[in-house]
């Protein structure tokens, strides 16, 4: 009897304890679901990716209630795609927690010689569904199915700012060209590097030593190289008049062909086609440092009196300029490569900084039409400075419309 009473007392205490616990014993004993399953994302929809070539869509959704709230156990979202609503859906990618969109884009129909399953066909309907993912490989149910097509776009709306800027600048150029043709005389500030060209060629003539013209290690299509051809033309014309030898070692065959034509015509215009030799413009090598070795060798063997460096330059700029300095040459440089400008400024006698290289043709020829384009550049810079000033003031006042206006979304 005593044992029975003791058992009943213990059972009563156990039931009392269980009854006061947070989780009812029945629930603990009957819970077989494991970790909690996150809720699915909702309102899934698919839209064309704007400003593309028609091989991309954007899948958007409303975040799962358990993403950053609720159970807060969502780690990301998995996106699935199919050709038909009832077809087999294949995994295409995932977005991390807090993301409410996924960009599905692929414009390669063939990859590694086989059809690319990720390829998005233009104007074909694709079906998507999304599910939430929690730790331990726990996934929600798939969302409802959404469909959409990739559409080819014929204008890049993110580049409107560039278009407007180019049109304004183009109209300035045309306006000042017409002004120049009408006889308007524009003032341009003198550039020491340009003014020194004649003296440098004269020095070489007096010393009876050749002139070296280096067009850099860019390609014939680079704007700086094209500006270099323009200066080469003027320099070659003067060397033809003074009968001074000019050497143009190049690192690209196309550059060699253009430089030969430029120098040949300059000699023709100077009335001295008889002293033009194609070997004055020589192809050395396409490799950067072997080219440097070749040019340095020419400087030291020929003892060039004047060296011009006009074009695109990289790490070789200082090696060339210092070798020229050792050889005792007068050196005039010009490049649009900002990282190389300090080297040229430190090691050469005169440097055309950035846009001055492009402006050199107008300075050297003094043709009103070319000088007119310099005025257009000045106006362009004035507008830029004004926009910068107004934009800085407005941003300080938390007004960002100038910044938004000039932001390019590519």
């Amino acid at each position: 009897m005593g044992k029975k009473m003791l058992f009943m007392l213990l059972l009563s205490l156990l039931l009392f304890a269980v009854g006061n616990a947070q989780t009812p014993l029945e629930e603990v004993l009957t819970d077989t679901t494991g970790p909690p399953v996150p809720t699915s994302p909702s309102n899934v929809y698919v839209e064309d990716k704007p400003d593309d070539d028609g091989h991309g869509v954007i899948v958007r959704w409303d975040l799962s209630p358990d993403d950053g709230a609720g159970m807060d156990n969502v780690l990301g979202y998995e996106v699935y795609r199919s050709d038909s609503p009832d077809g087999e859906y294949s995994y295409v990618g995932m977005a991390i927690k807090g993301s409410d969109e996924y960009e599905d884009q692929d414009d390669s129909p063939i990859k590694n010689g086989v059809p690319n399953p990720d390829f998005i066909e233009t104007e074909k309907t694709y079906y998507y569904k999304v599910r939430s993912m929690a730790a331990g490989g726990i996934f929600s149910e798939h969302s409802e199915i959404a469909s959409g097509q990739a559409i080819e776009n014929w204008f890049h709306s993110g580049k409107i700012g560039i278009l407007v800027g180019v049109l304004i600048f183009w109209s300035f150029v045309v306006y000042f060209i017409f002004k120049a043709r009408g006889g308007k005389d524009f003032y341009v500030r003198p550039l020491a590097g340009i003014n020194a060209v004649d003296d440098a060629i004269g020095r070489a003539t007096e010393m009876g030593r050749p002139i070296l013209f280096v067009l850099g290690t860019g390609t014939a299509g680079d704007i700086a190289t094209i500006a270099g051809f323009t200066i080469l033309s003027r320099v070659a014309k003067l060397t033809a008049e003074y009968q001074t030898k000019i050497l143009v070692p190049v690192n690209e065959p196309v550059m060699m062909a253009v430089a030969q034509e430029t120098v040949r015509t300059a000699y023709l215009e100077a009335g001295r086609p008889d002293i033009y030799k194609p070997e004055l413009i020589s192809y050395e090598t396409a490799m950067q440092f072997p080219y440097v070795a070749a040019v340095n060798g020419i400087m030291l063997r020929e003892r060039t009196a004047t060296n011009f460096y006009m074009g695109v330059f990289h790490a070789e700029s200082l090696i060339l300029a210092e070798t020229g300095n050792i050889a005792g040459s007068i050196q005039i440089s010009g490049t649009d490569q900002i990282s190389q400008l300090p080297f040229f400024i430190a090691a050469t006698d005169y440097t055309l900084i950035g846009e001055e290289l492009y402006a050199a043709s107008a300075y050297l020829s003094k043709e009103p039409i070319l000088v007119g384009t310099l005025k257009a550049q000045d106006w362009g810079k004035a507008i830029l400075m004004l926009l910068l000033l107004i934009g800085a003031i407005l941003i300080s006042a938390n007004l960002s419309f100038i910044r938004d206006m000039v932001t390019v979304n590519i």
Partner: protein, 205 residues
């Protein structure tokens, strides 16, 4: 006519490429790729001209006692690389051509590149001579920037602020100003070329 056709061609292709930039369609991409492929094709044709020019020049130098040695070395290297690289398998690791490339050409290039270290010192010495007010400012600025790598105790922290200010404010302002000028200058040059105002790249004014 010889002068006019290239100018019309440049105008047409220039306008087409400008329009192409604003069109993101597949056809536009194809046009861009096609135009760039032509650049490669022209480059390949020009390569033959380049090699011809190089060989002609170097063979001529063989007659000059002063230039003979360099020309002989160049021609030897030129023909060795051609003959060792004639077969596709000779381009693989372990082949003679690959070994020459790895063990001769690359070390020579590295040697030329290493000259830069010495030339930086000599150019910096000349640039930093405080002969004018501007050169003195340059010297002081360079000193502050270089001093950030030195352990200067409590001064280091102050110096870091100075360096950060120099790099982020005056240095960045100058770089951006040059970049904007370069951008405008490049557009102006392109417009001049497209409109046929600038034509020295064609070999005439």
């Amino acid at each position: 006519m010889r002068k006019q056709i290239p100018i019309y061609f440049v105008f047409g292709s220039g306008i087409i490429m400008i329009v192409q930039y604003f069109i993101p369609s597949e056809e536009s991409d194809w046009l861009f790729t096609y135009a760039n492929d032509w650049v490669i094709v022209v480059g390949i044709f020009a390569l033959a001209l380049g090699i011809w020019s190089l060989l002609r020049s170097e063979f001529r130098k063989l007659k000059d006692p002063k230039e003979r040695f360099y020309a002989a070395v160049l021609l030897f290297g030129f023909f060795i690389m051609i003959f060792t690289g004639l077969k596709a398998e000779n381009l693989e690791a372990g082949s003679l051509m690959f070994d020459i490339f790895e063990n001769v050409l690359i070390p020579i290039q590295a040697t030329i590149f290493s000259l830069l270290a010495f030339y930086v010192a000599s150019a910096a010495y000349r640039a930093f001579r405080a002969r004018t007010v501007l050169a003195t400012i340059l010297l002081l600025t360079a000193f502050i920037i270089m001093a950030r790598l030195l352990p200067l105790g409590p001064i280091s922290e102050v110096n870091q602020y100075g360096v950060a200010w120099i790099l982020a404010i005056p240095n960045m302002a100058a770089k951006r100003a040059i970049t904007m000028g370069v951008g405008l200058g490049a557009i102006a040059t392109c417009i001049k070329i497209i409109l046929g105002i600038e034509r020295t790249y064609l070999g005439h004014d």
